[in-house]
Amino acid sequence: GIQVEQSPPDLILQEGANSTLRCNFSDSVNNLQWFHQNPWGQLINLFYIPSGTKQNGRLSATTVATERYSLLYISSSQTTDSGVYFCAPIHTGNQFYFGTGTSLTVIP
């Protein structure tokens, strides 16, 4: 399989602040997904992004597959953004490899 590293591992933000989460992977990938796991454990799809940039409201993601990384941008953070963010590339076939996660806490 491939190695997937996310940084930072932990992040504390003041409400309204912006942040960038990074996902590095060790090999070529067919696709990549970003998830938000809320405090109740539910995994929510954020982006399905093999390359390029996508935006959805206050969130956007960029994947540069040739350089083996993806970025998740959170702007004007809210307390409801708290939770763990995972990236999950698809290396071969249909198998997702989950990263180590970034735990985000947004304080009011």
């Binding site: 997904q33 454990g41 995994l43 799809n45 399905y48 999950a88 249909n94 198998q95 990263g99």
Partner: protein, 114 residues
């Protein structure tokens, strides 16, 4: 997308017993997966649930411990057998709607083994 439900949502079990977790999808899907998430950890793939044939297990997971059924394209079960406290985790099923396509997760089953 797909709507996925899991039962039970949580359970507390005694060591040595077994628990069967159900996963129901609102549409027919080819690919279904089972994951484990141990406390404070990332997700680890247990197996791919294959319809009409034996599941495909990842390294470190065996059928005797985690038997899986997939009787049709909308339903699967995962059994956690002969449980120990180390099996305390969140167990999640997921589906993939197309080859290399996006994956969607159920709400998870929180298991505590005493």
């Amino acid at each position: 997308s797909a709507v996925i439900s899991q039962k039970p949502s949580r359970d507390i079990c005694q060591r040595g017993t077994s628990l069967t977790i159900q996963c129901q999808v609102d549409s027919q899907v080819t690919m279904m997966f089972w994951y484990r998430q141990q406390p404070g950890q990332s997700l680890t793939l247990i197996a791919t649930a294959n319809q009409g044939s034996e599941a495909t297990y990842e390294s470190g997971f065996v059928i005797d411990k985690f038997p899986i059924s997939r009787p049709n394209l909308t339903f699967s079960t995962l059994t956690v057998s002969n449980m120990s406290p180390e099996d305390s985790s969140i167990y999640l099923c997921s589906v993939q709607l197309a080859d290399a396509g996006a994956q969607y997760f159920g709400p998870g089953t929180r298991l505590l083994v005493l």
